[in-house]
């Protein structure tokens, strides 16, 4: 099978290839089959893509189905109103899909906005750095959203529906999650969560309806109170380490506020730190 390369600006009219590489600006006008598609620049496709591996290192806009074994996104992939099927998806940038994404292994370490996500092992880690750098002014947000065809957030990954076996996510906003094992890291907002296996939810998560008993922030707070005696010892050790006076009214007040639940341990540490530096 032949290879084809676009260096600069060019168009492809579809066909079967061994390797397609686009270095610059490339346009695909019809269906394509290839072993490897390598994009380094800007790529726009109107045809269906079927490939062994599709590596997008730049900006790719696809307006038809993608069926690949390996999908690697290092820049931006925008798949509008279509299906993305793969064995494994690895995204280190931004992935926007207003249709369905399904793969055995999905690893998103960046930012995503996807309508439906189906997989076996799904790992969505929102990269705060990418998100804050993408910092979109509120004035441009409607234009950005209409460009991508889906809402984009600079603080969360957005997925409407997730169905998978194992899910691990942080900073995720989802309408519905159905999974066997779920691990939700900090700052996840989920409207509906269904989990049959292991469930771990960070206290800062907000979960709407669920089929399980979840340890919410309020419950965590209550449980924390039970652990107060253990942590009081920890505070005592901090006081000793910093050679603070235990009878100092400010120290007593800080401990009291901690016991009342107004302060958490890290805040106590910060305040005691400040007292110790001023006494020195």
């Amino acid at each position: 099978m032949r290879n084809t390369t676009i260096d600069g600006v060019g168009s492809l009219y579809g066909g079967s290839y061994d390797e397609v590489s686009i270095n610059g600006v490339g346009k695909l006008k019809d269906d394509i089959k290839a072993n490897i598609i390598n994009v380094n620049g800007v790529f726009k496709s109107k045809g269906r893509i079927e490939a062994g591996s599709f590596i997008s290192d730049g900006v790719s806009r696809v307006h038809n189905d993608i069926k690949v074994k390996e999908l690697k996104v290092d820049g931006v992939l925008k798949a509008r109103c279509r299906k993305v099927e793969a064995d494994s998806i690895c995204c280190d940038g931004i992935m926007i899909c207003s249709g369905e994404v399904s793969a055995d292994n999905i690893d998103i370490d960046g930012q995503c906005s996807i309508s439906e996500l189906y997989g076996d092992k799904v790992n969505i880690k929102f990269d705060l750095k990418t998100g804050s750098n993408a910092g979109i002014s509120k004035y441009f947000k409607p234009f950005v959203n209409s460009y991508f065809g889906r809402p984009v957030s600079s603080s969360h990954s957005l997925v409407d529906t997730i169905e998978c076996t194992d899910l691990e996510a942080s900073h995720l906003k989802a309408k519905s999650i159905k999974a066997k094992n779920v691990t939700l890291g900090p700052d996840c907002i989920v409207d509906y969560l269904e989990c049959d296996g292991n469930l771990e939810v960070h206290p800062s998560c907000k979960i709407g309806k669920t089929n399980r008993d979840i340890k919410t922030e309020a419950q965590a707070k209550r449980n924390d109170r039970d652990e107060t005696t253990e942590t009081i010892d920890a505070i005592d050790r901090i006081i000793e380490d910093k050679s603070l006076d235990k009878t100092d009214t400010r120290v007593i007040e800080i401990i009291k506020k901690y016991q009342d639940g107004n302060l958490d341990l890290s805040e106590v540490k910060l305040m005691l730190d400040a007292l110790s530096t001023s006494t020195k």
Binding site: G135, T249, E253, K257, L270, D273, A274
Partner: protein
């Protein structure tokens, strides 16, 4: 018709000139230059340059600039004026008057062992410090915005002072003061009309309206230091809004003591608000 120059080597320019692009040494006197781009050194006297970009040394005497960016050393003799003056490197000036003055490129990292120092006399509407900076020159700045470590030996006086990083000085006296709380800062007193010390660096309307070389979004996206408590002996102002502060005395008309404050004595005249997460030893209504 204005003449344009491409210079390789050395060249002397005078009169009305259009664009100059030079690799080498350029001398100019009694010149009016539209754009001057140099990789090399520039000696300029009694001239005006509308747009100047230099990678190298600049020696200027009684020269005015429009938009000026220098990466290298700048020596200014006599009185020079500029609209925007950005220098990445050392600068000495008999008197440099400008609207906007900045001490670094915007991509510079803010942590450094050595601090930049200016020598001479500087007057600016807004001074933006993006690199570790020690202020030990004569200054007359209306607004100071610091995104990096800022060091000064005395009590800093200006109209608006915004610091998003650590500061080391005796005190600050300004109308509007914003400080990011960090235990690495060293400060004794704070006097002003509106004083805010908060980990939330939401830029207020006053800040957004300040003239500056960089957009507000640059400051809004500054990477925050880990939060810790700043220690200040006394804070006096009309409207005070603080969190993460340890202070002996806070006195104001309207006082809001936010989270993680440890205050010995608070004096207020009109309103007071104290967070549940704050510790205040004594509250006095004046």
């Amino acid at each position: 018709l204005k003449r344009n120059y491409w210079v390789a080597g050395s060249r002397t320019i005078s009169g009305e000139v259009g664009n100059v692009k030079a690799a080498g040494d350029v001398s100019a006197f009694d010149a009016k230059i539209s754009k001057l781009h140099i990789a090399g050194s520039l000696d300029i006297k009694n001239s005006f340059v509308r747009k100047l970009r230099v990678a190298g040394e600049v020696n200027a005497e009684n020269t005015n600039f429009g938009d000026c960016k220098v990466a290298g050393e700048a020596n200014i003799e006599g009185i020079s004026k500029a609209d925007i003056f950005v220098v990445v490197g050392d600068i000495s000036a008999d008197l440099l008057e400008c609207r906007l003055l900045r001490n670094s490129t915007k991509k510079t990292g803010v942590t450094s062992k050595n601090a930049i120092e200016f020598s001479g006399s500087f007057k600016a509407e807004t001074f933006e410090s993006l690199y570790k900076f020690r202020l030990n020159c004569k200054y007359d700045f209306k607004n100071i915005i610091s995104a990096a470590e800022f060091l000064y030996d005395g009590v800093l006086e200006c109209e608006n002072f915004y610091s998003f990083n650590t500061i080391e000085m005796k005190g600050i006296n300004a109308e509007n003061i914003y400080l990011y709380p960090t235990s690495a800062s060293k400060l004794e007193s704070l006097t002003g009309t509106y004083i805010t010390i908060s980990i939330n660096n939401r830029l207020d309307k006053n800040f957004k309206l300040l003239p500056k070389t960089l957009p507000n979004s640059y400051y809004a996206r500054l990477h925050s230091l880990p939060a810790s408590l700043i220690t200040i002996s006394s804070i006096e102002g009309d409207k005070i809004n603080i969190d993460h502060v340890k202070a002996d005395m806070v006195s104001g008309l309207s006082v809001k003591i936010g989270d993680l404050c440890v205050i010995d004595k608070v004096e207020y005249k009109e309103n007071i608000e104290i967070s549940k997460k704050a510790i205040v030893n004594e509250v006095v209504k004046l």
